[in-house]
Symmetry: C2
Subunit: 193 residues, 2 copies
């Protein structure tokens, strides 16, 4: 019986990922998630004590997979550092063409919870973004770039801009333009421009 | 009696601005807005046929005031083009310290309506962002910058990034860092770096 517990939790998180990411956290009720997961609300509340906890769990479940995919896009790209950074944007632009693509779940949740800055889900989102920023800074440090932390911060800002602008224009060329800008920033830092 | 009509509409829009911007569009009911405006729901529906129309009206009412404040910050700043662009970010960072600051209402609405890309409120948001992008391109054209449209797009991307990242970290230094990045972009375009 013990083995059922993680499976049920995974089913809840899968349903939460699909509905919260697909429709937004305020638009989706705990009832809808329990129904999609094929369980009772009581069982759901056994695993997640509240909707807030479920929203937090949904974002926490996206942390590692998202970081891994950015690292994969970076690593699998031939070329110099600027090409590898641009590749993250080119891949994002490609993904954004998928009808199920709805931007960045972390940023969208922070936008929905703008009146609750201390919400635990926002803390998970902030930690995720900090991890990505630190990972970028690490790549820049390895390449002996002068101000790796500053460059990492500029790249994350333009990337978050790409995510947000795309949701308003629904035009992937904005993400590609962000990739151009990011590439220029890296090239400038490499003193190649 | 005729003069009451715009006054009532303004009261509704003021209430919508305060509540939709303050708490989010899905978190706030039409009832709450009617109550805050001190009118009946029936009167509200006389002016705005649906909640969707009210959300759209709220964003439309922010279009010109927001564009004007950005232009004001730009114009009142001494220095070259890069200083004037950076000033927009410095002022945004200052504003973001106010407890009522909750990011960009256009981007937050687009984030909340990510599953409704054709929603009229998103169209208003997209038109607003396009207007700001075109205004930036105009300033760059006047200064004979080589690729004014490209630079305007890069600036708007980093600015939207600043708005969104700030909501997740609640740290105005991210908006200041975006201002640094924007300044660098303008300086590079002016061939001064």
């Amino acid at each position: 019986m013990k083995q059922d517990i993680p499976t049920t939790k995974d089913r809840i998180l899968n349903a939460a990922n699909s509905l919260f990411y697909g429709e937004g956290i305020r638009a989706v009720s705990v009832d809808a998630i329990a129904e999609k997961a094929g369980i009772t609300k009581r069982t759901l509340y056994y695993h997640f004590k509240s909707k807030d906890e479920l929203v937090t769990g949904y974002l926490a479940s996206r942390d590692q997979p998202n970081l891994k995919i950015f690292a994969k896009w970076f690593e699998e790209t031939e070329g110099d550092l600027s090409d590898k950074i641009e590749a993250i944007f080119i891949n994002l632009a490609k993904n954004s063409r998928h009808p199920k693509w709805k931007g960045c779940g972390f940023l969208r949740t922070a936008a929905e919870l703008a009146n609750m800055p201390g919400h635990p889900a926002i803390k998970i989102g902030a930690a995720h973004k900090k991890k990505f920023e630190a990972w970028l800074a690490e790549q820049f440090t390895e390449t002996s770039i002068k101000h790796p932390n500053q460059l990492a911060r500029h790249i994350i800002l333009i990337m978050d801009g790409a995510f947000s602008t795309m949701l308003i224009h629904r035009d992937p060329s904005y993400i590609e333009a962000a990739g151009d800008a990011a590439k220029n920033m890296v090239l400038a830092a490499l003193n190649k421009t």
